[in-house]
């Protein structure tokens, strides 16, 4: 330590000793106080335990089980005779409850006032607002009277082709069914927004001048009738399924 020089006014010995005492005190090293242990204001356990993330939307629930139309009896008949026979037991509208889809209510998401239209937007593919390939989906059955019955002819077709009632089928509307495909597309979009159709989705193929309407096999007859009535289509519209192609016309 360097020397410390004390400057004072002479006159009083008492005052000098007092000054020396004060100076010594000032030159004493500071007392070291150990810092207190840091404790976070949030619980340590929670900090270590990180909760995972999950989709806010719940998985779809399929509340009641449905089975394919082709039962053992029908299969056996087909094998034995080579000609499929539709037994009364295989009629789904009487004996089997079709699959019913309900979505678990989600309290974490705002209630959608107009759930009929759902535009899926992925980064990189969206944003241009191009009407070239607009599509929509309907998940609500509100306001639609779903007919669970199939006509005998259609029921036979379903059995022959061994289709699942929840398999998607496609109605194709072409220029032969209407004069202006764009006009039909607009009115179809309006109907869908107002939940006028059972669960289905569609898109317009402008390069082919066609409208494709996808729906479950179970509702395809009803959808076909609705399409013809509401859109005032002329001629026959065709229903096709994946791999098989056109299976039904109306």
């Amino acid at each position: 330590m360097d020397d410390v020089v004390l400057h004072y006014q002479p006159g009083s010995a008492v005052r000098l000793s007092c000054l020396l005492e004060q100076t010594e005190k000032l030159l004493e090293p500071f007392t070291c106080r150990p810092p207190p242990v840091f404790s976070p204001w949030f619980p340590t356990v929670a900090a270590e335990h990180r909760l995972p993330i999950r989709p806010a939307k719940p998985a779809p629930q399929i509340t009641s089980a449905g089975v394919t139309l082709t039962t053992t009896t029908a299969t056996e008949n087909k094998l034995q005779t080579g000609n499929p026979i539709i037994s009364a037991e295989t009629q789904p509208e009487q004996t089997e409850e079709p699959l019913c889809i309900t979505e678990t209510p989600n309290h974490l998401l705002p209630v959608r006032s107009a759930p009929a239209v759902s535009h899926r937007e992925h980064p990189g593919t969206e944003g241009d607002g191009s009407p070239v390939r607009r599509s929509w989906s309907v998940f609500t059955q509100k306001g639609v009277l779903l007919q669970k019955s199939l006509s005998k002819h259609f029921h036979r077709l379903v059995s022959v082709h061994r289709l699942h009632l929840r398999q998607r089928a496609k109605w194709v509307i072409t220029q032969q069914n209407c004069r202006d495909v764009e006009k039909v597309w607009r009115s179809l979009s309006r109907s869908v927004r107002s939940s006028g159709f059972p669960p289905c989705n569609a898109n317009i193929r402008r390069e082919q001048a066609e409208i494709w309407v996808f729906c479950d096999v179970l509702y395809s007859e009803q959808v076909g009738r609705l399409l013809k009535d509401e859109l005032q289509l002329s001629g026959r519209i065709h229903l096709s399924v994946h791999k098989l192609g056109t299976i039904f016309s109306m």
Partner: protein
């Protein structure tokens, strides 16, 4: 054989593609094997040269695809630590948790043989284990549903932006009750070690399911 870092050849994307494809197959199979959905909506398909069951229900398929589409960026960046398929009872309490623990090496030795053949064989073994796992698990109560939880290496909130890939498919932090399970029983199913990814699958099963 060449040694590459994660930045080379967009390695993370390759791993994410492989894993998400596998997870899609695995989720469909778990839902079938554990009877979360009626068997009528499933169809037999072939993947990794073995038969698997895949849902043909468009809404469910879309949900799974959307989920994995969002998870992919996390796997790509090596931010996902665990992907958990949780089967929940009617009260939304977990009864089973299929935990896929994933880790990716910072350096890798890569070749076409490594990527295609060896990894496929390893993933096939996972699929085969899942398809027979009902033999070691107790039956689930009726009315079960499922969700997918993603445990991130970092705090979940930091990864929220990465996972919000689809506009109308938001993600949230899971509730405590969705994560914790009373008296779980641990059933290891399969583990794999490859040059591009390490993964282990185990099931946590609730002791009292009903």
């Amino acid at each position: 054989m060449t040694t590459l870092t994660r930045q080379d050849l967009n390695f993370g994307q390759v791993v994410a593609d492989i894993l998400c494809e596998f997870l899609e197959v695995a989720i469909h199979l778990i839902l079938y094997v554990r009877e979360v959905y009626p068997s009528g909506i499933f169809q037999k398909r072939k993947k990794y040269n073995v038969p698997v069951q895949m849902s043909c229900h468009p809404e469910l398929n879309q949900y799974i695809q959307d989920t994995l589409h969002c998870v992919k960026p996390l796997i790509e960046k090596n931010d996902a630590e665990k992907v958990v398929v949780v089967i929940m009872d009617k009260e939304h309490h977990p009864v089973e948790r299929f935990v896929f623990e994933i880790s990716q090496p910072p350096l890798l030795s890569i070749s076409s043989e490594t990527l295609l053949s060896h990894v496929e064989q390893l993933l096939r073994a996972f699929i085969l284990k899942i398809s027979v796992c009902d033999a070691v698990l107790n039956n689930n109560p009726p009315g079960c549903s499922f969700t997918v939880l993603v445990h991130t290496r970092d705090a979940a909130t930091r990864n929220m932006e990465k996972v919000q890939v689809i506009k109308d498919f938001p993600w949230i932090v899971a509730d405590e009750q969705e994560v914790h399970m009373k008296e779980p029983r641990l059933i290891p199913l399969k583990s794999m070690t490859s040059d591009i990814v390490k993964m282990q699958l185990y099931v946590e099963e609730r002791a009292q399911k009903t």
